[in-house]
């Protein structure tokens, strides 16, 4: 494995496309992360809080897991496991086969890569379509993801254009918007006709049994809303004790991962579709994956379970920046992979990864979960050396070095002999430029200093210590924490507007009286005469609907036929997909991220805010809260529990999977317009 690794390192370093792509990734992601954290009132405090939550969760992992399973089952989610890789993949395939599934749409899930799920499903004769744009691209190319957040990190847009031309039979174009449009078109039919949707889980909330899924493109919403069966895969460590704790982690996860204050979509899935509800999967399964995690929990590598899979350590790592993700030969590359891969998949096969680090600590510095990477990398190295034969030169070198340094006399004697020996080697200006193996690795690119003729310890007795002086202890300034006041509603509107615009959302403020005209005018401007819509959160939605009807705009209520009405299902969905716009109300707005919160349920289809190109939302100013946490405490908790699938929407659907160029409207709407009324 080590030899293979070194070979791949060599190839990666010699690949100019990869080098360029990795440089771009490192620079942009790091800048984005720093900017996003700087928008928090107290970034330091939030980071510490997040790390504490992770610590508390992992310290009590088994208790929270039991609670989570119980709650999820009470909510009607069918829980399987915890299972190991093979069993988890088989179990997923089993569920699909029971429902005679032929086509599965899947949103991004690293744990599915870990258990090699696609191979198992394909072996069972089921087609799996990866719907995250980056995953879609690497699937078309028959590759694996090169980064846990940015799967197609290793490709430039010309590579993607060529792949699309070859595999999708479209004209060659390097225009990223056009490529994204192609992906939207190609995958649309799959979303609407798939038998099963598979997703990962970012957080499982122990106290409520809620599944939290964080996405940008809208594919996560598609796969959990449209197909009749939804299977969610989750590593058992991805738990969070409470909704409030989840709100804190949601402040650090997108910031660390993509430099966003919040991703476009956060889905909070509570249960399967019930009774008369408009949509949502009729059956929800949760596959819990152990695959070595419980064993890891009882080992000295427990802290690796703190990870949120944000990928910040990859972006910060100078070694990852040189060699890229594929070189690591595991689903989890970079610093976190160098701990997790040996810890979960075997020290003998993956232990060498722990040595591909300078221990510079850049990963520890950016980790939102508070993982001490240096400590874990060093522990991994220790296990690796104990368990696996090392190169002879290293073994001998370490032995010799320790033998020498264990005695002052030996150290000084070897020093003088080596000084003479090194003198016969070729030098330039005194420095050596060609050392024998294994030290030749050094002199391939650097000169090496000769040993000093007279070491320091031999000189010391000549130096005179005066010792006349001062000692003044510097006083440390106590940091004072500033008190935060509750913000005013007017300020909240301003902040909401700013944040919404920053994420490419549009903001229109008007009075309740003006609202029907404003909406009608807007719809006229995009030539929409038949739209999807619902509005239970405001009293006068009916009068808006009447006004729109008078203006010649028809409002349809979206809904997915149940699976027993198999014949009409696809046609109905394809029909709804023709609507150019969706109009909804919402439960609340969040000022700090420019987010609107939408429920689901009877007469409140998710599709309304997901299928059309444009989503119009009516938000009452009084419903704007400072943060997600404020809303949870002010009644949001009940809303989450009563909605089968609640969604936080922050700007239009977006992707940056091709050369990190932001493109809007991948699978969800490309325009999000919020009408705010006083």
């Amino acid at each position: 494995m080590r030899r293979q690794f070194l070979k791949k390192v060599h190839e990666a370093l010699a690949n100019p496309t990869l080098q360029k792509a990795l440089d771009q990734n490192a620079e942009r992601r790091e800048r984005g992360r720093e900017r996003a954290f700087s928008t928090l009132p107290n970034p330091e405090h939030t980071s510490q809080e997040a790390a504490q939550i992770r610590r508390q969760t992992i310290d009590n992992l088994e208790e929270y897991l039991a609670q989570f399973i119980k709650r999820a089952q009470e909510n009607g989610i069918q829980v399987h496991g915890p299972l190991d890789a093979h069993a988890a993949a088989l179990s997923t395939a089993e569920i699909a086969k029971e429902h005679n599934a032929r086509l599965i749409v899947k949103s991004k899930s690293m744990v599915s890569e870990e258990i090699e799920l696609n191979q198992t499903l394909e072996a069972a004769g089921i087609q799996v379509v990866e719907t995250d744009l980056g995953e879609f691209i690497v699937q078309l190319r028959g590759e694996s993801p090169g980064h846990i957040i940015t799967p197609a990190i290793h490709l430039l847009r010309k590579d993607v254009a060529r792949t699309f031309t070859n595999e999708l039979n479209v004209p060659y174009s390097t225009d990223v918007t056009e490529m994204t449009e192609t992906a939207r078109r190609v995958m649309r039919k799959d979303f609407l006709s798939a038998d099963v949707g598979i997703s990962g889980v970012n957080f499982g909330v122990a106290e409520t049994g809620t599944l939290c899924i964080v996405t940008n493109e809208g594919n996560g919403r598609m796969v959990s809303t449209i197909p009749p069966i939804h299977i969610a895969l989750m590593g058992i460590e991805r738990l969070v004790p409470s909704l409030e704790n989840m709100a804190v982690l949601l402040q650090v996860l997108p910031r660390s991962a993509t430099g966003q204050n919040l991703t476009s979509y956060v889905s909070l899935i509570q249960r399967p579709r019930a009774g008369a509800e408009a949509d949502g999967a009729e059956e929800r399964h949760l596959i819990l994956i152990d695959n070595g995690r419980l064993a890891m929990h009882h080992s000295q590598f427990q802290d690796a379970l703190l990870c949120l899979r944000c990928g910040a350590c990859l972006n910060a790592c100078p070694v990852f920046r040189e060699i890229g993700g594929h070189t690591y030969g595991s689903a989890y590359p970079g610093p976190i992979g160098s701990i997790v891969s040996p810890g979960l998949f075997g020290i003998k096969q993956y232990g060498h990864l722990s040595k591909a680090s300078t221990l510079c600590g850049a990963c520890t510095e950016v980790c939102p979960a508070g993982i001490d990477f240096t400590k874990l990398l060093l522990r991994t190295r220790e296990e690796y050396v104990k368990s696996t034969p090392q190169p002879a030169w290293l073994r001998a070198g370490m032995q010799l070095f320790t033998w020498m340094m264990a005695s002052k006399g030996r150290y000084h004697r070897v020093q003088s002999i080596a000084t003479i020996f090194l003198r016969i080697l070729p030098n330039r200006g005194g420095w050596l430029y060609r050392l024998p193996p294994p030290l030749s690795g050094w002199t391939r690119s650097r000169d090496f200093p000769p040993l000093a003729a007279e070491p320091f310890h031999a000189r010391f007795h000549r130096l005179k210590s005066t010792g006349n002086g001062l000692s003044k202890v510097a006083e440390k300034v106590q940091e004072t924490q500033t008190q935060e006041n509750e913000p005013l509603q007017g300020d909240l509107i301003v902040r909401f507007q700013e944040e919404l615009k920053r994420v490419n959302g549009e903001f229109i403020q008007c009075s309740s009286e003006e609202l029907p005209h404003k909406i009608a005018n807007f719809l006229a401007s995009i030539e929409a005469d038949q739209i999807l819509g619902w509005g239970k959160q405001i009293q006068d939605f009916n009068s808006i609907a009447d006004h729109l009807r008078e203006a010649g705009i028809q409002i349809l209520e979206a809904g997915i036929p149940r699976s027993e009405d198999g014949n009409t299902r696809y046609e109905t969905l394809a029909g709804l997909d023709q609507a150019p716009a969706g109009l909804t109300t919402c439960l609340a707005g969040l000022a700090d991220t420019g987010t609107v919160i939408l429920p689901s349920g009877v007469g409140q289809s998710n599709l309304t805010s997901l299928l059309p190109r444009t989503h119009l939302v009516i938000l009452q100013a009084k419903d704007i809260y400072p943060t997600f946490d404020h809303w949870i405490r002010a009644g949001g908790r009940e809303a989450i529990a009563s909605s089968s699938q609640l969604t936080l929407i922050t700007g239009p659907s977006r992707t940056a999977d091709v050369e990190m160029i932001i493109t809007l409207g991948v699978h969800g709407p490309e325009r999000l317009v919020v009408f705010t009324t006083n």
Binding site: E365, M405, K408
Partner: protein, 243 residues
């Protein structure tokens, strides 16, 4: 005040004149310097390579050598200071008596610049330097010990010097990594010396000789005339260049 000087095996063997500069700086700051003559290596190279049994014996030896006196220990190297201050405790995490001794030693161990600034409050040495100094914030010093401003505080007092700080990217040294993964190490070094050259610096200054050895080794190979210097060399107004 009396201190124990742990000079590090690299300075002892390769760069003794840096040791002399360190001695001079500490003397100027008015401390009495004791040099425990039994010292060899703290064990960091073996520890970082995963040979914890080997590291164990060298760490115990170092603890014993530095525990004969209760005086503070001053180390002119960020990474060796991290080893003694943080990693000894980790190394002995399942060995309570040694763990306790390691923690006691850690509590009175300082890297040179942090000792001068935080403990002595002494930054003024009447040094001067004609030219541009590029400060290299080494990883272990910066992230391992959290020593960020102290070296810059010291350099700010150097008259006529134009001090800039390089970005805190790793130079690629990493101990055995430099040989084991020579290819990656070289790439990281190339980035660093590119940054050095484009900074217009006359000298690269740091507080970790291992990084400086990597950077000067690369600069020399490239034929550059830019040299490295330990911060003590600048304060003691010695000629830049590790040798």
């Amino acid at each position: 005040m009396r201190i124990q000087l742990f000079i590090t095996c690299m300075i002892d063997s390769l760069f003794p004149q840096i040791g002399e500069a360190v001695f001079e700086v500490l003397s100027l700051a008015g401390v009495e310097i004791h040099f425990p003559t039994d010292q060899t290596c703290c064990g960091q190279p073996t520890y970082n390579a995963g040979y914890h049994d080997h590291a164990n014996s060298l760490a115990k030896r170092t603890i014993e050598t530095l525990t004969r006196s209760d005086d503070p220990v001053v180390i002119p190297s960020g990474s060796c200071a991290v080893m003694i201050r943080k990693e000894f405790s980790e190394l002995f995490r399942e060995d309570p008596p040694w763990h306790q001794r390691a923690q006691a030693l850690a509590a009175r161990t300082y890297e040179l610049s942090e000792f001068l600034v935080d403990v002595l409050g002494h930054t003024e040495f009447q040094a001067s330097f004609d030219g541009r100094i590029a400060y290299h914030p080494s990883c272990h010093l910066l992230r391992g010990l959290g020593v960020q401003t102290q070296p810059l505080d010291l350099l700010a007092q150097v008259e006529r010097a134009d001090v800039i700080s390089l970005s805190p990217d790793c130079c690629g040294f990493g101990g055995v990594f430099a040989i084991d993964h020579a290819e990656i190490s070289s790439e990281l070094m190339t980035r660093k010396i590119d940054a050095v050259e484009s900074s217009g610096a006359d000298v690269v200054v740091g507080a970790d000789v291992s990084c400086l050895m990597q950077i000067e080794g690369g600069l020399r190979r490239r034929g550059s005339s830019i040299r490295c210097a330990h911060i003590a060399q600048i304060i003691a107004m010695k000629e830049p260049g590790l040798q």
